[in-house]
């Protein structure tokens, strides 16, 4: 069953220098109980995507087209007050990067969880406190720490508290934006395990936004690779990461050293991500792509299924049957 359907979503920032096309014609479907990873470089629009879904854009960010359906509700057309009360956090919650600044330093951790419950449900103060304590326990934090302040928590505990907060109202979909960035590797592993366990137990659907392929590989069922505001490759996570077809995805996987393979120099993709004020014509990756030719600069490739079922890719150089040109980055 499709839980969240995003179709042709476009969100632009209006700046003094023009429109920044941060989310440009993006479509995907999140099935109930599944996890979708969104990966890409900094500035590719992946965090803007999360903020768009929760309608938390800064004042210069506008949704200029497309639709987002959660169950049978069209989210982008809802009244703000109805959306705040009925959707935000209640049905669509977000895990922010908690190690940094997602918790208010002058309020107790527990009260910040309880207030989410009180904002959406007819619960008494005592009930909310009770539930917040249970949530803390669920993520492995002693409920006695309800009344402690964020500075008394370690980075990993803060992150787990932020996860507990996201689960406060039993949401249908959780969007996790870089939930493990800024944590060291050991703590990162614990947090990822906590996320996976909770997801299994509660049957949550999740969108995990990350720049880290290994995090997505570990936690997600599907993956969407974003480049310059667009999805360039989409499919089941093993399929996409084992048989990457788009030159950009190939570049990303090559940039990751394999701990079991022979030592090889890390290959990086030359160049920098494009300026989204005036993205390149045709395929947005063409200025950095070793395969690019005149057609790539002129004609935008369509994201379509090629070869394996469910594996969609937007590249002129991938044939209908899914044959891939081998890409070598200098």
């Amino acid at each position: 069953m499709a839980q969240l359907v995003v179709e042709n979503l476009k969100m632009y920032y209006h700046t003094r220098n023009g429109q920044v096309r941060a989310v440009d014609d993006i479509s995907f479907t999140l099935e109930a109980g599944r996890a979708l990873g969104v990966v890409g470089e900094s500035g590719c629009g992946k965090s803007s995507l999360g903020l768009t879904l929760l309608r938390l854009l800064p004042s210069n960010g506008r949704v200029v087209g497309g639709s987002v359906r959660l169950g049978s509700d069209e989210l982008m057309a809802m009244e703000e007050e109805a959306f705040r009360k009925g959707v935000r956090w209640k049905r669509l919650a977000m895990v922010f990067q908690g190690a940094m600044n997602a918790l208010n330093p002058v309020l107790t951790v527990g009260s910040q969880i309880a207030e989410a419950i009180l904002a959406h449900e007819k619960a008494t103060k005592e009930e909310a406190v009770e539930r917040a304590k249970k949530l803390l326990e669920m993520v492995g934090i002693n409920p006695a720490r309800y009344s402690h302040y964020p500075h008394e928590f370690s980075g990993g505990m803060k992150q787990r508290a932020v996860i507990a907060m996201a689960l406060a109202c039993n949401p249908e979909v959780v969007i996790a934006d870089e939930p493990t960035t800024a944590l060291d590797v050991m703590v990162q592993a614990q947090v990822l395990k906590a996320i996976s366990d909770l997801r299994q137990r509660l049957g949550l659907s999740m969108i995990l936004v990350s720049h880290d392929l290994s995090v997505v590989a570990q936690t997600c069922d599907d993956v969407a690779v974003m480049y310059a505001g667009k999805i360039v490759e989409y499919g089941p996570v093993e399929e996409v990461l084992v048989n990457p077809k788009h030159p950009y995805t190939q570049g990303l996987t090559q940039a990751f050293p394999d701990i079991r393979a022979e030592r090889a120099p890390i290959v990086s993709i030359p160049g920098t991500p494009p300026n989204l004020l005036s993205p390149p014509s045709g395929c947005r990756f063409h200025p950095r792509c070793p395969l690019a030719d005149a057609r790539c600069a002129a004609e935008e490739p369509v994201l379509e299924e090629k070869g394996a079922p469910g594996h969609r890719v937007a590249c002129h150089y991938v044939s209908k049957s899914g044959e891939v040109a081998e890409v070598k980055f200098a």
């Binding site: 929760l54 938390l56 705040r84 009360k85 959707v87 935000r88 956090w89 209640k90 919650a93 977000m94 922010f96 990067q97 940094m100 600044n101 997602a102 918790l103 208010n104 330093p105 002058v106 309020l107 107790t108 207030e115 989410a116 904002a119 959406h120 302040y149 500075h151 932020v162 907060m165």
Partner: protein
């Protein structure tokens, strides 16, 4: 907050007070001129002069004078004024209510107007209203209060005489409780307006800038994502997190009010501590000046101490240290 924290702060404050008292003693000893020559006509005979020196303790060695001075300061025995021959403490206390009324009222107005306006404008950052309010506030903040005071006197006391131009009450004073209260307020309108117009701006700017900064924090985004109302986000999260520095600033700026008193009371001819200090300085009335310095220093120290202690109450990160 632990007891150790409290006592350490109190200890620092006492140490500072001691240093200030010592400086206060030294300043008046190194200033040119013998106190005796100031209160006497030079025609007195050397015998009388010597008698007076003994009477004021000036014949004793310096360190004895110092100890006597410390003792009298601590016991609030400030001696008698050279000019009025009245006990200094009594004169200070007689003027205190007027000063408190003027400064207390305008200080409360300053803080409340500044903070409330600052929060309101922080959410409208960049709008035409906000630009206007910020512009006017910056302008008024840059104007000295004496200038605003003089303009007010000229406009509402002279050209359009609806408010009194001097004093804290009518002469003769009205009888009865309510007539007295109304008369007092009537006399306070112009001075309070002058102090408030020139003083609210810094509170406004400070609050506005801090709340704008807090609204850009991740935890405010989290609060919005949680589906809290705008009000809850603004007050419970954004404003709550900037409350500690504002509370500190309130206590730290209390002593600065005394400078305000000096100027405003002079302009509006109010019978208060500020004008007392000015007059005493001009007449070289050392006991009064010395006592005023001591009282001001004491007020500054107490306010700083309170700021430290209250900060510990409103900011959880400060506790236990």
């Amino acid at each position: 907050m632990t007891g150790a924290y409290f006592w350490r702060r109190v200890g620092y404050a006492l140490l500072t007070l001691f240093v200030i008292m010592t400086l206060n003693f030294v300043i008046f000893r190194v200033m040119p001129g013998d106190p005796v020559s100031l209160i006497l006509s030079p025609d007195f005979t050397p015998e009388v002069r010597q008698l007076l020196r003994e009477r004021y303790g000036l014949d004793k060695p310096l360190w004895t004078q110092y100890l006597l001075y410390l003792k009298s300061m601590i016991t609030f025995d400030f001696g008698r004024s050279f000019t009025t021959r009245q006990p200094v403490l009594g004169e200070l206390l007689a003027r205190l209510p007027n000063t408190l009324m003027l400064l207390g009222t305008s200080f409360v107005i300053n803080v409340v107007v500044g903070v409330v306006l600052g929060i309101a404008m922080a959410t409208r950052q960049g709008s035409r209203l906000e630009t206007g309010v910020t512009g006017v506030s910056l302008f008024l903040n840059a104007m000295p209060s004496f200038f605003i005071g003089l303009l007010l006197l000229l406009t509402f006391g002279y050209f359009w005489p609806i408010f009194p131009i001097r004093g804290t009450m009518s002469v003769p004073p009205p009888t009865g409780f309510w007539p007295t209260v109304i008369d007092r307020i009537y006399h306070l309108v112009l001075p309070v307006t002058a102090v408030s117009l020139s003083g609210y701006g810094s509170w406004y700017l400070y609050t506005r800038n801090n709340v704008v900064g807090a609204l850009g924090q991740d935890y405010v985004l989290t609060a919005r994502a949680k589906g809290l109302t705008k009000r809850e986000v603004l007050y419970r999260h954004a404003f709550r997190s900037v409350l500690p520095p504002i509370v500190t600033l309130i206590f730290l700026s209390l002593p600065g009010l005394i400078t305000g008193a000096v100027i405003t009371e002079s302009i509006f001819s109010l019978y208060g501590i500020g004008r007392y200090l000015i007059d005493a300085t001009l007449q070289q009335d050392y006991p009064v000046v010395q006592a005023s310095f001591f009282v001001i220093a004491l007020a500054v120290l107490i306010c700083n101490l309170l700021a430290d202690l209250v900060y510990g109450l409103v900011d959880p990160r400060i506790r236990l240290r």
